[in-house]
Subunit: 234 residues, 2 copies
Amino acid sequence: ELVRAMDDFFKENESLRGVKVLVTAAGTVEPIDPVRYIGNRSSGKMGYAIAAEAVSRGADVVLVSGPSALIPPEGLKEFIPVESAREMMDAVLREAEDSRIVIKAAAVADYHAKEVADQKIKKNDKELTLVLEKNPDILFELGKRKKEGQVLVGFAAETQNLIENAKAKVEKKNLDYIVANDVTKPQAGFNSETNLIKLIRRDGSIEEFPLLSKRELAGIILDRVIEEKKIQKI
Amino acid sequence: ELVRAMDDFFKENESLRGVKVLVTAAGTVEPIDPVRYIGNRSSGKMGYAIAAEAVSRGADVVLVSGPSALIPPEGLKEFIPVESAREMMDAVLREAEDSRIVIKAAAVADYHAKEVADQKIKKNDKELTLVLEKNPDILFELGKRKKEGQVLVGFAAETQNLIENAKAKVEKKNLDYIVANDVTKPQAGFNSETNLIKLIRRDGSIEEFPLLSKRELAGIILDRVIEEKKIQKI
């Protein structure tokens, strides 16, 4: 009886055994000077939950994370802390090479300061103009380089036109799935323990979920990814 | 013997009994849009250490804190979480009214975005210009309103001309002490458990300390504040 229970336990938890899963999490930080930066409100909770869930299913998980107050889940193959979008891109493109599943939950800054001051900027002027320059689009680069059999999942944190913006992203970035969440909804999105998401597939179909914990949603996202025949063939 | 040990214990820990101490900590967050913000690298560790040390000495401690991953110390009279510099100023000027000691360890953003977008800014342009407007100078306002018998302590996180910048601040902002630290030094400043500080008094004298834990430095700063005859008269 015990043997059988353990067998079931391991079967359930081995659905990603030997599969390399790359997860990105938290927000990037773009320095303005040694003290100040442009950040965003991603806590990392969704990405860390996905990484933890993938570990519990036996995957070889690499987690690339921007600065976060969270403790990385145990059992990772590798934890790669990064700061800026450009640092994140370097790590992600390198690790994506041999990953079967890539889940990009990080909130990457779209812009960085064109000039980063070496010294703390002294506040003498009433107004200050900051010129920002576009960051590389990591998800777009991943989509361009996507290998046969690789599953690419993106996230879209939107405050308006959620579905349209998310569908456009699936196309443009060559994704298999996009997880869309409206960060203006209470108990959804940034720093919340729960999330309210829609899962949009490449074929345009939309699955809606009720308010669930980020860990439960992590399980659902991985279930859907595993259902893809690409992964079943492993 | 036990009674005497307890007596000593309480004596040591009651040096601020009944004294209202206002401490500010962590960095402020200035929104650019619902997702992005300008932040700074203060973790809040120095301010939280001062608040904890003041509580352990019997003070009525009000801690006004920007977003931080830290758990507020137990035994505070009040914990007031804020986000922007303007929110921090409102709370601080209100609470400073009847505080005997005000220690401003927070790293307040000098500028906020002139226009905050209601919706997430879509990244279409190669460059983006952000116009920033100066924030109110909370420490200057505190110095202007300083009451007879109130001790005001500021912090100066500098990356160059540490002493000159700090001395100018003492004068301009009507401070009793300024705690200056060079955040470019390893193991000093932001997010470190230790700090390397110089304590500059109103009379221009400078005390230098070796690398110490932030909690030890909190004790030293409070010792110096208590030595002021203003507080001894309480």
